[in-house]
């Protein structure tokens, strides 16, 4: 399916936002102003954007600990996300959630999640709500090599099939389950077949190629939005950084990341595809990169200067009422 110029620009913009955001965090984190753990999404942009470009604010996503990319792709405000990651009172979640718990429920972004396999059953519940509304909306969850072996994910897949809810299981396999290779932690020789075994149709995609992901998601949504029950999109991808920032990545071959960056970067792949086909000009793309860099720069400065908390804020929002 040929995307319009506007769609292409928007998709590229979204992928660049994620890349610039994550690359900047990689630079900022060692300065010591960011609390806690960061799990960066750089390298996987085509997956989040390939999905979220086809969702609306009525659709839900539930994310993972590697959630920044999903948040950005679903439309979370970048300066507010940066404030959150710096733990500021004006952050998207008032500074109480942080990197692993960024959410904007008003945009259908129901949270990054610090528990591996925590999100998939939640997405089934959101899909029940979608089905009851009957408006063609869907819920999607993201699962990596690690969560792929959590019992919660298996239960969620089965329940989604039993209930025939509009749920898209997005498997974004970056090859690693924390510090262990995915080929070790998943016993099945054919993990896609394993998903099919639950009764879920799987649409496979090249996670390094936005257009491939977009196409697989389009097919999945066609099923799930039209009463066909749950679907899955299965994409192989990579992460450019460690499980968390500071991970020395001893489990990865020397030069692996550099080679992937040079030979199979989803942003460069997108750039080559649209410019060679004459769909977008190099200047269009360069301008987007310049704009996003400025946005991220502004976001970091604002986050560093952000407001601390009044002590009373410690006690707010434990309950809606008590």
């Amino acid at each position: 399916m040929q995307l319009s110029r506007e769609q292409l620009l928007r998709a590229f913009r979204s992928m660049v936002k994620i890349r610039e955001f994550e690359e900047r965090l990689h630079i900022e984190n060692p300065k010591g102003e960011i609390p806690g753990f960061l799990h960066l999404y750089a390298g996987q942009e085509a997956v989040a954007v390939g999905l979220c470009e086809q969702l609306t604010e009525r659709d839900y996503i539930i994310s993972t600990h590697r959630g920044h990319g999903h948040c950005i792709a679903k439309g979370c405000d970048i300066p507010a996300m940066m404030l959150e990651i710096y733990g500021r009172a004006e952050g998207l979640c008032n500074g109480k959630g942080g990197s692993m718990h960024i959410a904007d429920v008003t945009k259908g972004m129901m949270g990054a999640n610090g528990i591996v396999g925590g999100g998939q059953p939640i997405a089934v519940g959101a899909a029940i709500a979608c089905k009851m509304r009957g408006d063609g909306s869907v819920a999607a969850s993201f699962t990596g090599d690690g969560a792929a072996n959590q019992g919660t994910v298996f239960e969620a897949m089965n329940l989604a099939v039993v209930l025939q809810v509009p749920k898209v299981f997005v498997f974004e396999m970056n090859g690693y389950s924390e510090h262990t290779g995915g080929s070790y932690s998943t016993g099945a020789k054919d993990p896609v077949q394993r998903i099919r075994g639950f009764g879920i149709p799987v649409f496979e995609a090249d996670g390094f190629d936005f257009f491939s992901v977009h196409d697989a998601v389009r097919q999945a949504l066609e099923v799930s939005r039209n009463g066909g029950g749950p679907t899955a999109v299965y994409a192989q991808t990579t992460r450019y950084y460690g499980h968390f920032e500071g991970d020395p990545m001893l489990y990865r071959a020397p030069g692996e990341v550099e080679r992937l960056r040079a030979e199979n970067d989803c942003l460069q792949n997108f750039r080559a595809r649209v410019t060679q086909a004459g769909l977008l000009a190099v200047d269009d793309l360069d301008e987007i990169e310049t704009q996003i860099r400025a946005l991220v720069e502004h976001s970091v400065s604002a986050a560093k200067a952000g407001r601390g908390h009044a002590p009373a804020e410690l006690l707010t929002n434990v309950y809606a009422s008590y």
Binding site: F37, M100, G146, Q150, G151, E178, S185, L250, Y251, V318
Partner: protein, 337 residues
């Protein structure tokens, strides 16, 4: 005597017990790491906090088992291995992840012996990292020992220093009951003198960290350090404190606490957990019931508030009980009469 960090001390205990007893196995996520990686290097992690370093090269894959991220299967497998005669040490990377596998602890491990009778024993240790202080937010920072302490059939260990950690880990591995062993992440780098040779410390025996006649301070895990700092400050103004570190919350050394309170007449309990159904509340109730007549002032509890652990550094430092709050609580008990 050599000085070791708590990380090194626990690691040494694991090494020594694995060498001593071939029934001891270690299992968990990335306890070695690197399996199936592209570098071919095993032990790419040795545990995310480095607690299980060196075990795989020394004891091999049959006894040092990297698992998928499947907590329910990890603890279930540890239960089964224990019932079948092994002595598993299972790791749950962060105590918070226990939610995923709680059935295997609550309904299985804790109850085997009571349900099945004296022929059944489940000698397993479940190691978990706990505690706030790293900005790790609501799902990676909880001190869940009150939850485990409330479950009959579990023993619960929360060491405050490297020396105790080594001796208690060795005791936990040798113990015939399921032991929850909670390691505070802010204590891993703290060091003290730790003998090289193996030694076991008994469960249910508290440690008197500091002696004084005026106020009894009972503190748990990281809070022991804060209580000691508070006691130093209080001593400078003439208030002398007994500081008691129970070391295990189940069993709990009630005698040492009661004996101290009978002497001082004043009690401050310091617990990093939220106040409801906390160890602070547990100790306060025990003292109210059994030493009421000795109390010269109301018991003071210094705890986290009834909230999840916040992410932001400024809020997290308000959340965690501070030496200053302990000092204020001790002063308040002195002012009562």
């Amino acid at each position: 005597m050599p000085v070791k960090t708590m990380r090194e001390a626990i690691n040494e205990a694991l090494h020594q017990e694995m060498a001593r007893d071939p029934r001891v196995i270690v299992l968990g996520e990335d306890v070695s790491g690197g399996a199936g990686g592209t570098s071919g290097q095993r032990e790419a992690a040795g545990g995310v906090f480095g607690l299980t370093k060196g075990l795989l090269p020394r004891f091999g894959e049959a006894r040092v088992i990297d698992t998928p991220i499947s907590e329910a299967a990890i603890i279930g497998a540890a239960n089964g291995a224990a019932l079948a005669g092994l002595r598993p040490v299972a790791e749950i990377m962060f105590a918070d992840f226990v939610g995923v596998c709680f059935d295997q602890i609550l309904n299985q491990a804790a109850k085997f012996r009571y349900m099945f009778g004296p022929n059944a024993k489940a000698p397993l240790v479940i190691r978990m990292t706990m505690g706030a202080g790293m900005g790790a937010a609501a799902q990676h920072s909880q001190t869940l020992y009150p939850l485990f302490t409330a479950i009959p059939g579990l023993k619960v260990v929360i060491p405050s220093n490297a020396y105790d950690a080594k001796g208690l880990m060795i005791a936990a591995i040798r113990d015939d009951d399921p032991v929850i062993f909670l390691e505070h992440k802010m204590l891993y780098g703290e060091s003290c003198e730790v003998p090289d040779e193996p030694y076991a410390l008994p469960f249910g025996e508290a440690s008197l960290v500091r002696a004084g006649d005026d106020v009894t301070i009972v503190a748990f895990a990281r809070m022991v350090n804060f209580a000691r700092a508070a006691a130093d400050e209080l001593a400078a103004e003439g208030i002398h404190c007994d500081v008691i570190d129970p070391r295990t919350t189940s069993p709990l050394d009630e005698d040492m606490i009661l004996e101290s309170v009978r002497a001082t007449g004043r009690l401050v309990v310091v617990d990093e957990s939220p106040p409801r159904c906390s160890l602070a509340a547990d100790v306060a109730a025990m003292v109210a019931e059994r030493a009421f007549g000795y109390l010269k002032a109301p018991v003071r509890q210094v705890t986290a508030p009834h909230t999840p652990v916040p992410f932001a550094t400024d809020l997290e430092s308000l959340y965690i009980p501070s030496p200053e709050k302990i000092v204020q609580a001790a002063r308040a008990t002195m002012a009562s009469r």
